[in-house]
Assembly symmetry: C2
Homo-oligomer: 473 residues x 2
């Protein structure tokens, strides 16, 4: 419970319509489709499931955000920056109560600069809304994660997210030119949207991926790209996973970047396509001449790796339905299908170099096998130097929540241990770490880097009010 | 002068052959071709020109570097990390004496991993030597700055440098996967060479571009690329600068990346090519099909901008001679041509968005005009969202060193003021800031960011021993 005087002062800042302490509203914020998973997970960590926000505020300006943060400092009350609430890693779960600062009213697209291929947008804008607006000008962000109908710009920046077309357009940090950030002290930082520079360390990277622990991103200047002249698909079937990964590697190292490569492992191929082998879909986009050249090079490499050509129709269908799984998941598999039954899935996405990705993948399968649960994986987000594996692990239906949570925690621990064993594997590729993976971040960084990280936190957030308990802090 | 006990202990660490306090050796380190400019510049800042290193050491291992730094902390003696000494901005000038830690004996290429397209190299390796070694395996770093025959990996990482082919391969931070850094306390940080990750802020960016103020980079894992199947050139002549910049913009926004675009302004075109208009050379590289497609798209855009096709021969000549100016400069123009005569050049390279680059360029010309000195500019390092201008400013021959230095300082001040006026312009694009531009870094960052930067410095370097006086610290 917040002191009444704090609530009154928050009301003065945002107006009484833009604050709520109503317990059902707060429950709705806590138990959204995605954060319901987080609540189950909370229990798995033996944290109290009744942890809830004390209050939610809807500021409309950077100055209001700054005033809220200053006030929270005075009262030593936690702030949890809140965008679309889509994160998988519990990044917005209120571990010690506090004020949810929902940024969705910072919803202005401030400037679309076609000549200089950039857009200045407030942090509360939903990705798909920005995308629709840019599309009217023949532009795109190139950023298309599954959550884009729910997630905000601020959330995507705060988790270093990747979209379906990342091979070509990069990760969100690659697309970010400038930032406005309200620091945990309430001061406002503006990072210039320069094309590139050599002016000391690029400090924008302190805030990108920080999941709100170093401040609240209130606006950003992002790159834009022209909508491609051509978007084309092609599917193939590899005899086995190794051939598929080798093809992906050779393609990415040949000097081209198909916008997407999505390679299913044997289990996912059988489940989704009822075929033996490894299904793979390619998306090409850009000027027609480039797409023609890329498709030719890709098909030559696939042929060398013994793949069967499945044509272009399957790929188109994948593109049209690529987000179906994401938006249907809570209803079909994660939400308890009936009272007292626990059923959910986790996704420990990780990336590694080509010499480590296959052993890492098989090590993850072995963990899952040990627990007798099922896993379907795909490989997407390809780089010349490595790729990402996305294992979707479905837990069995279990009656006993205590038992379910024990297995859940054990699986995460085992998988994190496997990932940390590899010298090029990332604890997470694009979902962030929140508190679920935050527990292992000290091992990912190692000492003395993790100590430095904690010391930077102390400089930026002397009272420790910003999103406590996340990123291992 | 260093205490004898410190010199003895340094000898114990590196061996007596690998340390020197000989004044001629130290003078040679201070007055290299490039840092001679720095010495003139030092005088321009009214700092004592007699500032020199007290000692130079040549460690061979990361552990030795760590021991040296620990010792320097104990004695509170400055450390200046030293690579090739090629920097233009005085980043290695010993403003308060101290120990030059020359890293050129950390010269091992530790691992070339062809399958995973990466190389692990020590920081003292000269860029061109790494390049030759990779070429034997059919690989390249894609990093080709003019200084590559002199500069080290550590130097290039510490200045966020860009090479001639940056349009295609990016800046050195884009190529960097992992880092080993000796912190100012002597502790050793290892940043994992993951393909990509979402595990909090990407802290490698604290050290990239830090010019040694946050520690000494001792090794790095860099991306490698396959040597291109085809490298091809094409030159054109635009009627005026605006047409040339518009063509570059349209090309970079069309979804392709020619490896290099080098557009000369009218002054440089007349000086180098004896032609009216703006000369431009393109370099294409990659698979043959891609190069064919890119060249076709580029020539179509150039035609739309009214350019005259000059064929491919001129471009080849540019490529073969592209570093001539760099390596001949000290002898022909910067070194005093005769006793008592001062003649030198400066290069305030900056990048800005397409809507600001032309006004910025003309503002720089106006500054130069005011002083009656000459300037020849080119535009290279193109992005979809902006480009870089590289004005080479030649000062007149002046007899009086005091007078020369007054003009020199005034020109830098005026140009920095012009750059800082633009909201998308970078104080420097790829040379770093050292102490010459470090004076303006507080304005580039603004508050509270510059204060945070200084506080991070205090955490990492509590005794302030690392490269003092650089980056405005």
């Amino acid at each position: 419970m917040l002191p009444n005087s704090l609530v009154s002062k928050l009301e003065e800042i945002v107006g009484e319509k833009n604050i709520s302490t109503d317990k059902y509203e707060l429950l709705a914020y806590t138990i959204t489709d995605r954060s319901y998973v987080s609540r189950i997970q909370l229990m798995g960590l033996n944290l109290k499931p009744e942890y809830m926000y004390d209050c939610v505020v809807w500021p409309q300006t950077t100055e209001q955000v700054s005033e809220i943060v200053k006030l929270a400092n005075k009262y030593r009350v936690p702030i949890i920056p809140y965008g679309g609430g889509t994160n998988d890693m519990g990044g917005t779960v209120p571990l010690t109560g506090g004020i949810a600062v929902d940024l969705k009213r910072l919803d202005k697209i401030i400037e679309i600069n076609e000549r200089s291929a950039r857009v200045h947008t407030q942090a509360g804008v939903i990705l798909q809304i920005l995308e629709w607006e840019l599309n009217k000008h023949g532009l795109t962000t190139g950023h298309a994660p599954a959550c884009m109908y729910d997630a905000t710009i601020g959330g995507t920046l705060s988790t270093r997210s990747s979209g379906s077309l990342s091979n070509k357009y990069g990760k969100i940090p690659d697309m970010t030119l400038g930032l406005e950030v309200v620091l945990p002290t309430g001061e406002i930082v503006n990072i210039k949207p320069v094309p590139e520079g050599s002016t000391g360390p690029a400090l924008k990277h302190l805030f990108l991926g920080a999941e709100g622990v170093f401040g609240i991103i209130t606006s950003a200047v992002l790159r834009t790209f022209q909508l491609p002249e051509v978007r084309r698909f092609r599917s193939v079937l590899f005899k086995n996973l190794h051939n598929g990964i080798e093809a992906g590697r050779k393609i990415m190292q040949s000097g081209i970047s198909p916008a997407a490569i999505r390679l299913s492992d044997e289990a996912e191929t059988m489940k989704n396509h009822k075929m033996q082998g490894c299904y793979c879909v390619f998306c090409f986009e850009g000027p027609r001449e480039i797409v023609d050249a890329e498709e030719k090079i890709v098909m030559k490499i696939c042929q060398e790796e013994g793949a069967e050509d499945l044509g272009s129709e399957e790929g188109k269908r994948w593109w049209e339905r690529k987000y179906y799984m994401y938006y249907s998941t809570p209803r079909s598999s994660v939400y308890p299908p009936e009272e007292g039954k626990i059923r959910f899935a986790i996704v420990p996405d990780t990336a590694a170099s080509y010499d480590e990705i296959e052993p890492l993948y098989y090590d993850i399968l072995n963990v899952v096998k040990k627990y007798g649960i099922s896993v379907y994986s795909h490989f997407s987000h390809w780089y010349p130097h490595g790729t990402m594996v996305y294992p979707v692990i479905y837990f069995n239906v279990i009656d006993n929540i205590e038992e379910a949570m024990k297995i859940y925690t054990a699986v995460w621990n085992d998988i994190a241990a496997v990932i940390l064993k590899y010298k090029t594997a990332s604890l997470n590729h694009h979902h962030g770490v929140g508190f679920i993976l935050g527990r292992y971040l000290d091992k990912e960084y190692g000492e003395p880097l993790f100590r430095i990280f904690k010391e930077i936190k102390k400089i930026l957030d002397p009272n420790g009010i910003m999103n406590p308990g996340k990123l291992g802090l």
